[in-house]
Symmetry: C2
Subunit: 494 residues, 2 copies
Amino acid sequence: MTAFADLMAFQRETEALAQIAGRLGWDQETMMPEGAAEQRGEEMAAIEGVLHSRRTDPRVGDWLASAKATDAAGARALDLIGRSYHRNVAVPGRLAAEIARVTSVAQGIWAEARAKDDVAHFLPVFEKVVALMREKGQALAEAGFGGGDVYDALLDDYEPGATAATIGAMFGRMRPRLVALREKVLGAAGHPAPVKGTFAKEGQLALARELATAFGYDWNRGRLDLAVHPFSSGSGNDARITTRVVEADPFNCLYSTIHEVGHACYELAIDPDHLFTPLGAGVSMGVHESQSRIYENQLGRSRAFTGWLHGRMRDTFGDFGVATAEEFYRSVNRVQSGYIRTEADEVHYNLHIMMRFDLERQVMAGVLEVADLEAAWNARFAEDFGVKVDRPANGVLQDVHWSVGLFGYFPTYTLGNVYAGCLMKALRADLPDIDADLARGDARPATDWLAAKVQRFGGLYRPAEVIERACGFAPSEAPLLDYLDAKFGDLYGL
Amino acid sequence: MTAFADLMAFQRETEALAQIAGRLGWDQETMMPEGAAEQRGEEMAAIEGVLHSRRTDPRVGDWLASAKATDAAGARALDLIGRSYHRNVAVPGRLAAEIARVTSVAQGIWAEARAKDDVAHFLPVFEKVVALMREKGQALAEAGFGGGDVYDALLDDYEPGATAATIGAMFGRMRPRLVALREKVLGAAGHPAPVKGTFAKEGQLALARELATAFGYDWNRGRLDLAVHPFSSGSGNDARITTRVVEADPFNCLYSTIHEVGHACYELAIDPDHLFTPLGAGVSMGVHESQSRIYENQLGRSRAFTGWLHGRMRDTFGDFGVATAEEFYRSVNRVQSGYIRTEADEVHYNLHIMMRFDLERQVMAGVLEVADLEAAWNARFAEDFGVKVDRPANGVLQDVHWSVGLFGYFPTYTLGNVYAGCLMKALRADLPDIDADLARGDARPATDWLAAKVQRFGGLYRPAEVIERACGFAPSEAPLLDYLDAKFGDLYGL
């Protein structure tokens, strides 16, 4: 065998083992009996240890030095394996193990602190997490990742090629328009009423399944289960989704299902030739999020689709107090200032992200101390949202991300929204009848378009490249902002 | 660290990875979407590859050569790791891989052949399986396992220390008494009626859960799901069970649940200090089966327990045509000649096993050709059961075991029954009021006794040793045969 073939065979096994680790994570959140938690921690550590030693195996370095690809997919696979190898060897084993250990403890302490609204309880372990992540970012920066910048070196893990400078510049252009839209909407005369009532679990789950089907989810290669925090999991021919049910808020279940279907459909649509290669998964967090967001928002919260959903809601739950499709559309898209990012509407969502992005950059750069983070959060929130944070669980303690060391992750959510805006513009140009399809409850023409234009390539192209190829224009924030202005201008009669 | 500590740390990770492989197997039979089957095959091969290379890692050999244990548990752990290591290195990697590949294909072909009643369809691949298993047995025998005997070397995988000679001698003593009992029972004047009707799935599953609780199953460390063929899976703090529902036959679900609870309780009761060591799982198939069988039969099919179950059946399903507890007890224990081992009553079950034991020894010894196995099966069945096999699915094709290379496994089922007979004798002596407990639907005094006397030791003692320590006498077939004679003599008024 050649070095290339040897490397790809080795990588294939590594990818298969990584799938197993993912499946174990799924089990932990959906099926695992409670009493197994501690044991599972040791099992996860064992498989992560195997993966780490394979990803830093010196043979990979040797193979990379002499392997030659014969086509573009092979060349891209070598790039991605090389990237992973060099990132992994750049972080000392001692540091990687310490990060795994400390973040696992920190996540538990964060959950306690959030439950008790006690920031001080979280700060000591969070200091350690921040110090370790700075050290990791430093090690990666020294190895040349992120152009030598600590934050960019971390960001590069989630959105290869992105930098804080370009993202920051884009966010800077977006923020004034979002703030202006927010103010106009909140100041509008008529506000939609929220949906009220109790919506039985069985009905919500039946409708969630129907929605997944409407968006083309392949039940032969996936399944839907309940989880505390909805997520999707798995690649290739086994991409599962989860949802949760809040009986007072059916949109929680229904729209989180559509969101996770977007993630899962991406994985399921990837060219089967890429299975168990570095090209066999979504290419970045931003592109992944663009799929979940366009399914959930641009398609799922459109007037056309909610018109159909309104009828299915009435079929399922009877008269639930929302008489017309238009009234339902307005309820689904109700804009409201709130503390919680995950509950935010399309107008507010990106403002939540921008705030986190600015704060986490300052923390990583060492210009904002961990002890001062809460005050900085509250000041910024008052500035952007015009509301005083009432308690830490609604403020700096609300997200799990930082507790587990995810610095550089947040901006990919807004990047996903931006990409979704671009894709929707191109999709509408290619599929002029899409609203008629959505109004019949059939989103598949749209999702088939996404599968053909974005999803099937997996990791073949770089993140911004796959979006540009799909759209025929370079991605920018403009289509998203235009879409939001038009949609909410219309909805609120601005 | 010392060689002992190094070895145990390495082993700990291996055990954790083995748990993961087991969990993946559970997922495959309960949760996995159908379309993921092929991908899962590659994932399983990857983790099995990791396990195989750890189990044959030359460092294990080095550590074993110099490791010193400081207590009995440590010494036993070294024995078990050494046993596993030497068995694994005795089988050439090429042969192990070929067995994995061929048996995986053979299982699929066997399922097709059984569905079509087409023995000829199965024979070509089965020839290969048999040749490979002979080769494996030969390699193990040459390495000194099974005292140099091919069949014993394979049997040793499932029941360490057992030999075909001693098992054959015991079976020889058992068979005349079982045949005599069978003839008397079948010739008896009054036969119990089978239970008839349709028993709703929900009711069966609710009752199955209640039965698991009655036998002390720890729901905080386990769960119950549906599977085509019921099984249990996992060790330590995560031992899951499965069952199936046949609406015309509630005993299928209820008694397979109790059976699997027996297996799972064994794993859950093992001393937590043994977790992730070679002592952290049931010591042999025979001892494992003794637990599932005593739960299912000696306890679960007792007059006392079925008296309680009769009431719960009436509570759950209403009047189902069996008026008295005594009538119900007779229905549950109805003796009937039948083709299928897994559906056999306590009188017939061991006759099914003895037949397979004799045939598989002849196949492994090369004195019975694969092409002649069906004829040999049918002749022996007519002799032992007085019935002509009507079709291969009811005959030589009924069990999956041989298709996946499980030669030497069948006798452990009867060994389990024999051990269960011994344990029940000792248990009755220690717990004179057990029938009163069972009559209240509480099997926990019995299962607590088993946990304390057998289960908690895990792999600490050798199989026959743990039974002898629990019983206070050397295990023999006599208690089982006495129990069967008494129970069915009474039931059939012999």
